[in-house]
């Protein structure tokens, strides 16, 4: 129980230090921010000591998030809602070209990027000096991350043609790594 209280105090102090530093702007030293994050890390370590590493890591980070929201809520500034008249009109209907382009982008993000990510994750996992099952687990961890990054890059670029080429190259490279 004592460790849990200490863990909560550490997390609250850590986020509190960040808040203090944030309120002071540039007047406060960067060490306050570093100390704040160290306190949060100490809190996670304390949780891990109390309820084992696996549970402690998840619970410690989760509690830190909730505490941060509670502390953010103390900074609430409320103003009466502003009245603003906004005209009502139908959204402009996109042309066939725009619809087509968005559809290609969707297929690129949701399908082709997924396939390329799978191939790249599997290819990269071959480079790991690990057993087969750990490589497999790595693929399962890597796939959504690689896919997420690719999805972002594709939507950032908004150039479906160029991105299709890149996704093909990435998928091909992944496949190459897999079979080499």
């Amino acid at each position: 129980m004592l460790i849990i209280v200490l863990a909560l105090l550490c997390a609250a102090t850590g986020i509190g230090l960040n808040l203090w530093s944030w309120q002071g702007g540039r007047q406060y030293p960067r060490t306050a921010v570093i100390a704040g994050w160290l306190c949060v890390a100490a809190s996670v370590a304390l949780w891990s000591a109390e309820i084992d590493v696996e549970f402690g890591l998840v619970v410690g980070l989760g509690i830190a998030s909730v505490l941060a929201w509670l502390i953010v809520s103390t900074q609430l500034r409320h103003k009466p809602a502003t009245l603003r008249h906004v005209e009502r009109r139908s959204p402009s209907v996109p042309g066939a070209r725009t619809v087509g382009r968005q559809f290609v982008l969707f297929v690129l993000v949701m399908l082709l990027a997924g396939i390329a990510s799978l191939l790249l994750s599997m290819g990269l996992s071959r480079l790991m000096p690990a057993d087969e099952i750990t490589r497999l687990a790595t693929v399962m961890l890597l796939l959504p991350i690689v896919w997420g990054v690719l999805a972002f890059v594709i939507t950032y670029s908004q150039r479906p043609g160029v991105m299709l080429a890149w996704v093909s190259i990435i998928g091909g490279a992944g496949f190459g790594l897999m079979v080499v």
Binding site: S65, R77, H85, G114, L143, P144, G148
Partner: protein, 474 residues
């Protein structure tokens, strides 16, 4: 990207973030909302079927006898059979085949058939969005990857996200208000959101990955890699007959006294090759269980090695508890529900920000009001219809959800629609409580769930009333 001015980078990143959010926003909202509720799957199952006998301790001999008697009936036996043992969260004993499930009483008599239609509907909404199961799960899992993309693009798109980490301005300009809520919840909850995205992607893609793996590295033999990860079946040939579950459980006390059996699977039931697999939770571990294999007579054969096998095996077997918050007791469930609710609000406010940024209002505003506030109303109406009339939870949910959305589109006033649906949600939750109390027998779980529902109704009702007075901005 290099060479572009920083503002152009942020503008384009924000555009990418918006595109991703708009494309998956509605689906993400439903998945997050149902996921938040499904954290309490066990409690809701108990609540939906309160007449079932509850107990924590059971006699393994009674269980074994009942199991064997119940499944001698050819109409009930399937290749896999289960005995789901009582736990703290779900103190009920259940016998299940691949097609049906029944509760067992402590004295060995059989209780009612399992009928958690509403909870199952909620679970299916989270896992498959009510689409055909295989494709639904793949689509939902792909959204896990998109959540990762949204977290990455969200951080990159907001240069002031750390500087504004404690800013919260409510009221005033609606766009600013929604942005502050969205960003504050996002930035501090990011570790949880990433974890949910990554582990969520696992469920739909595990089999795809295993399939590709088997195809490329095992000459198309996917069973080989599946066997390596989840364990191979022992090759047995025994006289036909029952299974000695009691002996297997008795042996467990010597093999792993610190672990608690939660589930028993009988594989190849009714054949000479049948065997027993006992799943037992390992204290302090995120792995779903360590699994022990016994022959039909309950003699120990081997264990799967999920608790101390290679790192990959332990990681793969930890995804389930990590994603659903099924570890560490009720406190962790509450924590997951709070974090899940935050993600639900982030999903809703994301599109609200995009709508508020436009210079005009349109049917899109009405549609979004219906999607967001129609869901809690539809969930409570479907629960009420299922409990009161035995109506299909699926039909009840979608009929009331589409009706809510239709009402918003018809009214063409999103502020009015939002408020109406908030008040309808609050009223339908109160009606649900009344229906439940009137129709179903009292139970230990009813009080806390009724109290939670009442608080939810009050909160949603208060939002509705407040929303009505502070009508203000577009």
């Amino acid at each position: 990207m290099p060479g572009k001015p920083a503002t152009e980078f942020f503008r384009q990143t924000l555009s990418a973030h918006s595109w991703l959010g708009l494309v998956i926003g509605a689906a993400m909202y439903l998945i997050c909302l149902s996921g938040t509720l499904i954290v309490f799957h066990e409690e809701l199952s108990r609540w939906e079927q309160p007449e079932v006998e509850e107990f924590s301790d059971f006699d393994p001999v009674v269980l074994s006898k009942t199991f064997n008697e119940w499944f001698t009936d050819d109409t009930r036996i399937t290749p896999h059979l289960w005995a789901i043992l009582p736990t703290t969260d779900l103190p009920r004993l259940r016998l299940a085949s691949e097609t049906d499930s029944w509760f067992m009483n402590a004295d060995g008599s059989m209780g009612p058939r399992e009928r958690n239609h509403w909870v199952e509907m909620l679970l299916d909404l989270h896992l498959y969005l009510h689409l055909p199961k295989t494709w639904g799960m793949i689509f939902v899992s792909a959204l896990g990857a998109m959540l990762v993309a949204l977290v990455i693009s969200g951080f990159l798109a907001h240069p002031k996200i750390i500087r504004d980490a404690f800013k919260l301005r409510l009221g005033g300009n609606r766009q600013l208000e929604q942005t502050d809520i969205h960003n504050r919840l996002s930035v501090w909850g990011a570790p949880f959101h990433l974890m949910i995205g990554i582990t969520g992607a696992y469920f739909g893609f595990a089999l795809v990955i295993l399939g590709v793996y088997g195809y490329v590295y095992d000459n198309g033999d996917t069973q080989s890699i599946v066997g390596d990860v989840f364990g191979n079946e022992p090759e047995l040939s025994q006289p036909l007959g029952g299974v000695a579950i009691d002996r297997a459980l008795h042996n467990m006390q010597h093999i792993a006294p610190e672990q608690s059996p939660i589930l028993i699977t009988v594989h190849d039931a009714g054949t000479e090759a049948r065997f027993i697999e006992v799943y037992a939770t390992a204290p302090g571990r995120l792995i779903y269980s360590e699994n022990y294999i016994f022959d039909a007579d309950g003699n120990y054969i081997s264990r799967r090695g999920f608790s101390d096998g290679v790192a990959g095996k332990q990681i793969i077997y930890s995804f389930y508890r990590l994603h659903f918050g099924r570890f560490g007791g009720f406190g962790v469930k509450v924590l997951y529900a709070v974090l899940g609710l935050a993600l639900t609000i982030i999903s809703a406010t994301g599109i609200s920000i995009w709508l508020a940024k436009r210079r005009a209002r349109s049917w899109l505003d009405d549609l979004w009001a219906g999607i967001v506030w129609g869901a809690p109303a539809a969930l409570s109406v479907s629960a009420m219809l299922t409990l009161a009339f035995g109506a299909s939870a699926l039909v009840g949910f979608w009929a009331s959800y589409l009706a809510s959305i239709g009402l918003c589109l018809w009214r063409r006033n999103e502020r009015y629609s939002r408020r109406t649906l908030q008040l309808v949600s609050a009223t339908s939750i109160v009606s649900l409580i009344a229906t439940y109390t009137w129709l179903l027998p009292p139970s230990a779980i009813a009080l806390p769930i009724t109290a939670t529902l009442l608080v939810s109704a009050l909160v949603i009702g208060a939002i509705g009333l407040f929303n009505g007075r502070a009508t203000a901005t577009a």
